[in-house]
Amino acid sequence: MAAPTDRMGLLLVALLPVLFSIADAVDRSNFKTCDQSAFCKRQRDVKPGQSPYRALLETMELSEARLTLQLINDNNKVRLLLELYRLQGNMTRVRINELKPLRPRYEVPDVLIQEPPTESLLLLERDEHGMVLSLGVDDQRLIINARPFRLDIMDGPKVLLSLNSRGLLVFEHLRLRKDTISHKISSTVGSMWDKIKSVFSSKTEADAEGVENDVEQNEAEKVEEVEEVTEEEEQPGMWEETFKSHSDAKPSGPSSISLDFSFPGVDHVYGIPEHADSLKLRTTDGGEPYRLYNLDVFQYELYNPMALYGAVPVLLSHTAERTMGLFWLNAAETWVDISSSRAVQGGGDAPQTDVRWISESGIIDVFIMLGPRPTDVISQYASLTGTQSFPPLSALAYHQCRWNYNDQEDVQAVDNGFDEYDIPYDFIWLDIEHTDGKRYFTWDPNKFSQPREMLQNLKDKKRKMVTIVDPHIKVDSSYKIHKEIRSKDFYIKNKDGGDYEGWCWPGNAGYPDFTNPEMRAWWATMFAYDQYEGTMDNLYTWNDMNEPSVFNGPEVTMHKDALHGGWEHRDVHNLYGFYVQMATAQGLIQRSGGVERPFVLTRAFFAGSQRYGAVWTGDNAAEWGHLKMSIPMCLSLGLVGISFCGADVGGFFKTPSPELLVRWYQAGAYQPFFRAHAHLDTPRREPWLFGPENTALIREAVRQRYTLLPYWYQLFYNAHRTGQPVMRPLWLEYPGDPATFAIEDEFLLGKDLLVHPVTDEGSHGVTAFLPGEGEVWYDVHTYKKHQGNLNLYIPVTMNSIPVFQRGGSIITRKERVRRSSSCMEDDPYTLYVAVNAQGTAEGELYIDDGHTFNYEKQNQFIHRRLTFTEGSLSSSNLSPDSQFSTASWVEKVIFIGVPKPSAATLRTADGAESPLEFEFDPASELLALRKPGVNAGADWTIHLR
């Protein structure tokens, strides 16, 4: 919903008029640059060169699936333990931790859905320089180079990926603070090392080759037996750091880690959301690295690597030949540098992309996903962190939100407005003002005195509601939630051990420790109907501000030295929002006795958040640039597993022109999470407030969404089963075509619909790239046929939403749009069969009850394959083990791109045949079969002759 500065400005406008001069963009000075983040600066100051790390081959231990090996830093003699795993599904896991850390270092729990199953590693060769292991698949091998330590993953003679090839592995070992221990122990060795150290430090920026280096190494070997850990020079910010007026006590000292990865031959990398930036990641040379640190950013800027609300440390590399992925499993503040270069490889001029990850604490735990196809990488990642949760069908429909619907009468009036203007909607949302003084789980006693009555009224129209439940809890001894959390000691602690308190919407607030499983279990129980009073089963939840947002904290978030049990907030920061949504979703499941699927929207997220619901792109603005940006932002999230993504339709801050609002509805209707939202200070913008023409345009966009709900539902079912994104960049389906690699103004839904929303003011046309040599595409509005692999100029008017159906696909729609998706449950289907150059097409149809787990627990669903080949369209069962009965039937079949048949007959499962009437339009080769009438769950065949 909102960023704090704004709201505070509202309160403070008179107190501090100067401070809150109205700014159009983010106040960058509130957020750190790499230079202002001590560990990032330290790490980034290390330049590529010879790595001080060396693998101690003699320490190698190989069990069936696990190889361990010690690494030593020749500068300080600290030993690390390297673990290598070959994982099922063509992945390699590399873990590096201190061999003997002073204290345990944080390892991220709960994100992986299981301990990833391993496969055996086979040692192929071994000598004093290193060893070679087989990665099973084809010619894939892993080469360990001992001095300097380096890993190369090879496919035949080709290097796919190298680790530490630029020597940027830096592992700041845990240490005691100098002023707390006697320093004499190392003084003797230390003096010997002073010389070497100085040589090293002066050499880090120089070329690492050379005689001097050999000398050093010889010396290093000589003193190896001494094995005393030598202290590195103290650098600023190691033991304490301040930003603006905030100080970070850092009692554990430096603990950051860094590792570099090189991708020879790679020019395109994607992922590491969330950033308001282009789909294809840009080089960060000479600029700021991409930052991953969940933050509540007020009025974020576009095309900027600054951190936003969520973080998924997953990066994909892509070439026409191979796609790979890196999953850097670390929840601390992380920065990612991308640099690209062109290197001479195999005689040709080949691109190379280097990626360097820097995290503040924890261990190195990285999953290398070797593809080779894009869909393989996505499946590999899904096997680690799980797939998109399968939402209730209605959650895929249209959501109407505003900060705030003022009271029950307002809710009623808006609800009636949708009926009066005949615009469907499924969910109406209540932002923070619905509560009793920002005490979540309560209702304002004056404005929402009869919540159950309000919910029942919505339910009577088969509609639903979402209320906001944020994780900051008002410190108020008369507030039940606060009292219980305090009495159970569930709050996060400050560095001195008291309950951490920060400023947020309710004023002074505590922050429950969601990393604590007991806390999460308790939180889940708060959603029970008898706990969250006034609620019913058609009420769902929205978790906002869960970065967490702390208005008076450093960078508007929590102090890093706050404590979650034994761990510092520093270690777990990026996980907080993930856990909040996890616990909330669990609560919604539990309140129904495990029967109903939850729907929870979150602003903050991490790897694995896809398992718990939807995310949105936070507090955007009513600007054309933000409308455009919604596409790459959601595409990036889809690539890392989070399919259920959307942007606030209309833009949260500021006021959209009617044209922008209409265009946003048109784009939003074709993005996964479709919700209009608006800031408190903006004028009302329900769809009917901009004149009959704009109302009609918005109505049409929303209706298009509703007709396609069967397709959306099927895509989400697919995403849930396989992890494949719902909204896809073109290159995912056309990985061999470099023309698709950087496209971010259009996208695919599944593989069969291509959408190119109009995102420019006053646009008269858009140019869409229709991919695929030999592919054909049909305009879904005119049925006009276009060849693939070309740029198509499409003239547009205000009612145009350029959408194309791929030839060779069958898409199911429900064309009887009603006032909510639940009202359409039993309605018949229309099949759109768009044939390809070979005259064939195929598609799927998925049906279940739309809201329970019965599809999963009791196999109650229908999943059918629809195929059209050689003039026969048939429906066959894809899941013979499942059972579900539906009242829906097939009312119409539309073939696009077929010649006129002389007859059409329907053959049902019992063998009966009956003729079907049809209409044919020769101009668009459109054939419409009238009323086959068969049940949607039945076997049948239609023959065209």
Partner: protein, 530 residues
């Protein structure tokens, strides 16, 4: 499908006991019955095509205009007719047929959805009739009141108009009187002025004499002071000890300069000192004062550094009282608290030296002249004030008369009245033709929600809404404004207020002034479909 040609169930009409049901396809209004003739081909109402009659209401959309499926949800643009016997007939979009939600009070839209709908038409009809009756009564009484208001307004208007012209006449008289008094005043002021000038002249002459004497004495004193060797002459050397006399301000009084000051000679005696005195007296500092004439030290820095004991000073200063939030409203309050008022001045103005040689009092003759003139001035001022008062009254009446108080002046009585509504948090006040405001119930100052702007109803009923705008500004938003919707009522009351959009208020206000002439009784009791 099973619903090819469903007749409206006869039992329904039987049990309702009235209105003869006519057989026609489901969802067709009586008025269109003739287009749906059983067993004859049906032509879509837009004429686009003709289909066999069994395709009417067969749950498949054949007509582009949706006319073949009046009783099913098959056509996206169809509409369904509910007879609603006992209440008003209505059309609903056909997408609401069998969607599980009861839309028609006669339940006919949910014939195949499993929804259990109650026929509520009779009850709704009863309520509707009661409501209409009540409204009619209100309208009737209200309209009578309105007539009174109109009459009253007319009377007031005439009264005001009369008062206005009376005052305008009065004003003329007063203006004449004022002119006469001005002449009297001027006549009386002339001798007064002359006498006062005489008196002043005499006093100034005397002052000049005194001043010259003082200067002479000072000169003598200075001569003695300068004449250090008491030889009866002031020499160049003696003068040079007074560097403040340096004519070119280069910090040193040279011999030549000193000589110049003495009139070109090396020394002067007391009698010829006068020339020199003239050129030095401005700058001369007495030797007895010179030491104490040090410059004042600069004012001490009084600003203290702001104590910085907030934990997070740069972004913390939310006032705790604000947690109950919402609003916005009171920016001005905060601005007041902000109070960047200048500190009370430390400088008290230099006390002017008591004028030792104050002007002596006027003599009796002059005094008499002054008193006489003052009397004429007072008379004049009095008359002028009276005229201004009348002007103000005229202006106020003219302003009032200039308002658009409705076609028959029925809103006249609202002028200079205020109406309040108290909610849980605020007291709202509407002063028609003036302003709307909001005041927190529990402390805090009033916020202006807008000043009278204009009538703002739609074209056909301009006087059904008022617009008040240019209220207190909102942060990052517009100035507050209020739309007041007027509805007919026996009493003049603010019924409700709301803020549908931030800083855009809506107020509902009842007044007899908008009551329309009630329809004749027989229209109300027209059976129609009720």
């Amino acid at each position: 499908m099973s619903c090819a040609y469903l007749l409206l169930a006869l039992s329904l009409s039987v049990c309702l006991g009235y209105a003869v049901e006519v057989q026609r396809p489901r969802g067709v209004p009586l008025s269109k019955r003739q287009f749906y003739e059983e067993n004859k081909p049906f032509t879509c109402l837009d004429g686009s095509r003709t289909i066999p009659f069994d395709r009417v209401n067969d749950d498949y959309c054949d007509c582009k205009d949706g006319s073949d499926e009046p009783g099913t949800a098959a056509c996206p643009n169809g509409s369904f007719h509910c007879t609603n016997a006992g209440y008003k007939p209505s059309f609903i979009p056909s997408s609401r047929i069998n969607d599980g939600i009861c839309d028609c009070c006669d339940t006919t839209d949910e014939y195949n959805s499993g929804a259990t709908c109650q026929n509520t038409c009779r009850e709704m009809g009863r309520q509707e009739r009661e409501l209409l009756q009540k409204q009619a009564e209100i309208a009737k009484e209200g309209f009578l009141l309105k007539q009174q208001l109109i009459n009253e307004a007319k009377r007031q208007q005439e009264e005001k108009q009369g008062k206005l012209s009376e005052m305008q006449t009065n004003r003329k008289t007063m203006e004449d009187k004022l002119e006469a008094l001005r002449t009297v005043k001027e006549v009386a002021e002339q001798p007064e002025k002359e006498a006062k000038e005489r008196h002043l002249k005499a006093w100034e002459d005397q002052k000049a004499i005194i001043h010259a004497e003082k200067d002479k004495a000072k000169m003598a004193e200075v001569f003695l002071e300068l004449d250090d060797d008491e030889d009866g002459y002031v020499s160049v050397a003696e003068l040079q000890s007074h560097s403040e006399l340096d004519p070119d301000s280069d910090g040193a009084l040279t011999e030549v300069e000193a000589q110049g000051l003495l009139g070109g000679v090396d020394k002067v005696d007391a009698s010829s000192f006068e020339t020199a005195w003239v050129s030095i007296k401005e700058k001369y500092i007495s030797e007895s004062q010179a030491d104490s004439a040090a410059v004042d030290p600069p004012a001490e820095e009084t600003r203290q550094p702001v104590p910085d004991n907030e934990p997070y000073p740069e972004d913390d200063p939310v006032d705790e009282e604000d947690e109950n939030e919402d609003d916005d409203e009171d920016e001005e309050d905060y601005r007041d608290e902000d109070g960047d008022k200048p500190p009370p001045s430390v400088h008290t103005p230099e006390k002017s030296e008591p004028d030792e040689d104050a002007m002596p009092p006027y003599d009796a003759h002059t005094k008499a002249l002054i008193d006489a003139a003052q009397k004429t001035r007072d008379d004049f001022d009095e008359a002028e004030r009276a005229l201004r008062e009348v002007d103000d009254q005229i202006k106020s009446i003219e302003k009032e008369l200039s308002f658009d108080f409705g076609p028959s002046g029925e809103f006249t009585h609202l002028y200079s009245q205020c109406y309040e509504l108290s909610t849980s948090e605020y007291v709202y006040k509407l002063c028609p033709f003036n302003r709307v405001s909001q005041k927190p119930k529990y402390g805090g100052s009033e916020t202006n929600l807008g000043s009278w702007g204009s009538w703002a109803g739609p074209e056909d009923s301009l006087y059904s809404a008022m617009k008040y705008d240019h209220g207190t500004g909102c942060w990052q938003g517009p100035n507050r404004s209020t739309t007041v919707k007027l509805t007919c009522g026996k009493e003049t009351v603010v019924m409700s207020t709301s803020e549908p959009s931030r800083c855009e208020y809506l107020m509902e206000f009842t007044t007899p002034a908008v009551c329309q002439e009630p329809l004749p009784d027989h229209v109300l009791h027209d059976p129609g479909e009720l």
